[in-house]
């Protein structure tokens, strides 16, 4: 009967509402741009139900039941983990003020070939590189000495306001001379 220990991060979008469904799980409702509703029900069993309700209706037009794994895959796709549309400059996941973003290094980036310590990413931008998605083997919790390569997808974590600084830092040369060859 005590209030449950805080386990959910606060909602960050004004379009999103949520409440408990006693005996079933938790319900999230997202108001879509056209006035319709998307309702996600997360069951205690891990099952997710996705309801799509068109504007002006009470009954859903489509209902999909997903397993835990399927739901995570769909969530990752929607979050842009696999493919980021070019028109969208930033796709971020914000959880309670903490931001997780994916950042791909193209071959022209001055950061290619330099190590994380060398780039002073944390000191200069406040963001942390949590993992590097790289073929054939992703690197989790990379050491400071890890050298970045062209095509690396950096998974970065930090405060939302520091993201722009990181983008500038990795897109523009860190040193005074942009033509300076990377060491090594």
């Amino acid at each position: 009967m005590n209030p449950p220990a805080p386990r959910k991060p606060p909602l960050t979008s004004p379009d999103l509402t949520d409440h408990d469904l006693p005996g079933i799980g938790h319900r999230y409702e997202l108001r879509s741009a056209d006035g319709g509703r998307v309702v996600v029900v997360i069951h205690h069993s891990g099952r997710r139900d996705l309801y799509v309700v068109e504007p002006g209706h009470d009954e859903p037009q489509a209902v999909v039941a997903l397993t835990d794994t399927q739901a995570r895959t769909l969530g990752a796709i929607l979050g842009g983990a696999y493919f980021k549309p070019a028109v969208v400059e930033e796709i971020e996941a914000v959880i309670g003020g903490l931001l997780i973003d994916w950042f791909t290094l193209d071959a022209g980036s001055p950061a290619v070939g330099r190590s994380i310590a060398d780039l002073e990413i944390r000191r200069r931008t406040g963001m942390t590189v949590a993992a590097i998605v790289r073929d054939p083997q992703p690197v989790t919790a990379p050491e400071p000495g890890e050298r970045l390569q062209a095509g690396d997808q950096l998974v970065v974590i930090g405060r939302q306001e520091d993201l722009a600084r990181l983008r500038r830092h990795l897109a523009a040369p860190p040193g005074p001379d942009p033509s300076e060859a990377p060491d090594g």
Binding site: M1, N2, P4, P22, G23, I24, V41, Y51
Partner: protein, 393 residues
């Protein structure tokens, strides 16, 4: 030992296969577990899987304990308070109509006052299990009225715990009014005592059994639930109340969410044994005596539920489809009716209560989901309230 194991295994399998058949038709599982018990028990000709119902006694008791433990675990006063006055009013109206109507019906049956009280609860309180499953299967979780339906169920669950305490003198072996009052006071004190633990000390109890290991957590919470249920029973309070209160104590602890997940398969298994064991005690030959009362009770429940649905919808500003959805979904009867019947039969009340509740639950199990599924179609056919004719431009 071998014959007991064969009986227990056969009981689970028969219950499972029967309920699978029911699921194909979109019907709830609980009555089918019970029907399997009736058909494969000693009271009916043909294959007898369980010769001696007492072989299943312990398993059935665990089923009852876990059903109520889970209910307590889901119980959240905050949820009820956050639903506000309108939810309490909607739930209260529902209970007033249905339990009140059930009590009047029970008295009219003329089986006795104690029996009337049991009948009132058995036909007045909805089945959480059947209603929630129905909402999921009818794909109505996105509907605005579904939250209200689940809210009404929560109010009913709380009422059930209080009602069990109230029934304690009736179901116990009280020999006089003073004895009965004492029984009620002990039951009530027990509720208040564990309620206080739930309010202020659930963290301490949670820490007592908290471990990151799912295996150990399961062993510990099962132990705690069964132990407290047993102590409650020894104190003259029913094991059902004890189990419910342990659930509410743990509901406020940080491990609540993990226990909710871990207890489900255990609850489902042993609850099936409970329903099957109840079926074993039913002789279909007695059905003849209760057919008319059951038909009347079903009719009464449908009418009172639709009325209660209208009232709840009116209070919350929902339309007539939602109103009918509420009334016909909350119509589900199952575990609580059967729990009350089991307690009543155990206490030596009128034996007709067993077959009466069994048949009532069975009929509503088939009629209820059917009506709930059809409710939007029925609502469309209802006469509309007169509306001003659109003026042609």
């Amino acid at each position: 030992m071998g014959d007991v194991l064969i009986g227990v295994g056969g009981a689970f399998l028969a219950a499972g296969i029967f309920a699978r058949f029911g699921r194909r038709l979109g019907l709830p599982t609980i009555p089918f577990f019970m029907v399997a018990g009736i058909l494969f028990g000693p009271q009916t000709p043909g294959l007898v899987v369980v010769e001696h119902p007492e072989d299943l006694e312990l398993l059935a008791a665990l089923g009852l304990i876990l059903l109520l433990f889970h209910l307590g675990l889901e119980f959240s006063l905050d949820e009820m308070v956050s639903g506000g006055r309108r939810l309490l009013l909607a739930g209260g109206t529902y209970l007033l109509l249905n339990v009140g109507g059930g009590l009047a019906f029970g008295i009219a049956l003329g089986w006795g006052t104690s029996e009337a009280l049991v009948v009132a609860g058995a036909i007045g309180i909805s089945s959480s299990a059947i209603v929630t499953k129905l909402l999921i299967e009818l794909r109505r979780l996105a509907n605005p009225e579904s939250r209200l339906i689940l809210g009404i169920i929560v109010v009913e669950d709380v009422f059930l715990a209080l009602y069990l305490a109230l029934l304690q003198p009736v179901l116990g072996d009280a020999s006089g009014p003073a004895d009965a009052a004492l029984d009620f006071l002990v039951a009530f004190a027990f509720l208040v005592g564990l309620g206080a633990v739930a309010r202020w000390a659930s963290g301490v109890v949670g820490r007592l059994i908290d471990t990151p290991d799912d295996e150990l957590l399961t062993v510990c919470f099962v132990g705690l639930a069964v132990l407290v249920a047993g102590v409650a029973e020894e104190m003259g309070v029913s094991d059902a109340i004890g189990a419910f209160m342990v659930g509410t104590v743990l509901a406020g602890s940080p491990v609540a969410e993990r226990i909710e997940r871990l207890v489900l398969p255990l609850r489902d298994t042993f609850a099936a044994a409970f329903f099957f064991a109840f079926g074993l005690t039913i002789d279909p030959g007695d059905a003849g005596d209760v057919v008319v009362p059951v038909a009347l009770a079903v009719l009464l429940s449908v009418v009172l539920n639709v009325l209660a649905g209208q009232a709840a919808a009116r209070l919350n500003g929902f339309g007539r489809t939602a109103a009918l959805n509420i009334g016909l979904t909350v119509l589900g009867r199952g575990e609580f009716s059967l729990i009350l019947a089991t307690l009543a039969v155990g206490a030596g009340l009128d034996p007709r209560i067993g077959p009466f509740v069994a048949l009532y639950v069975l009929v509503l199990a088939i009629v209820g989901p059917l009506l709930a599924g059809l409710s939007p179609a029925i609502a469309r056919r209802l006469p509309r309230r007169p509306r001003p004719e659109p003026v042609p431009a």
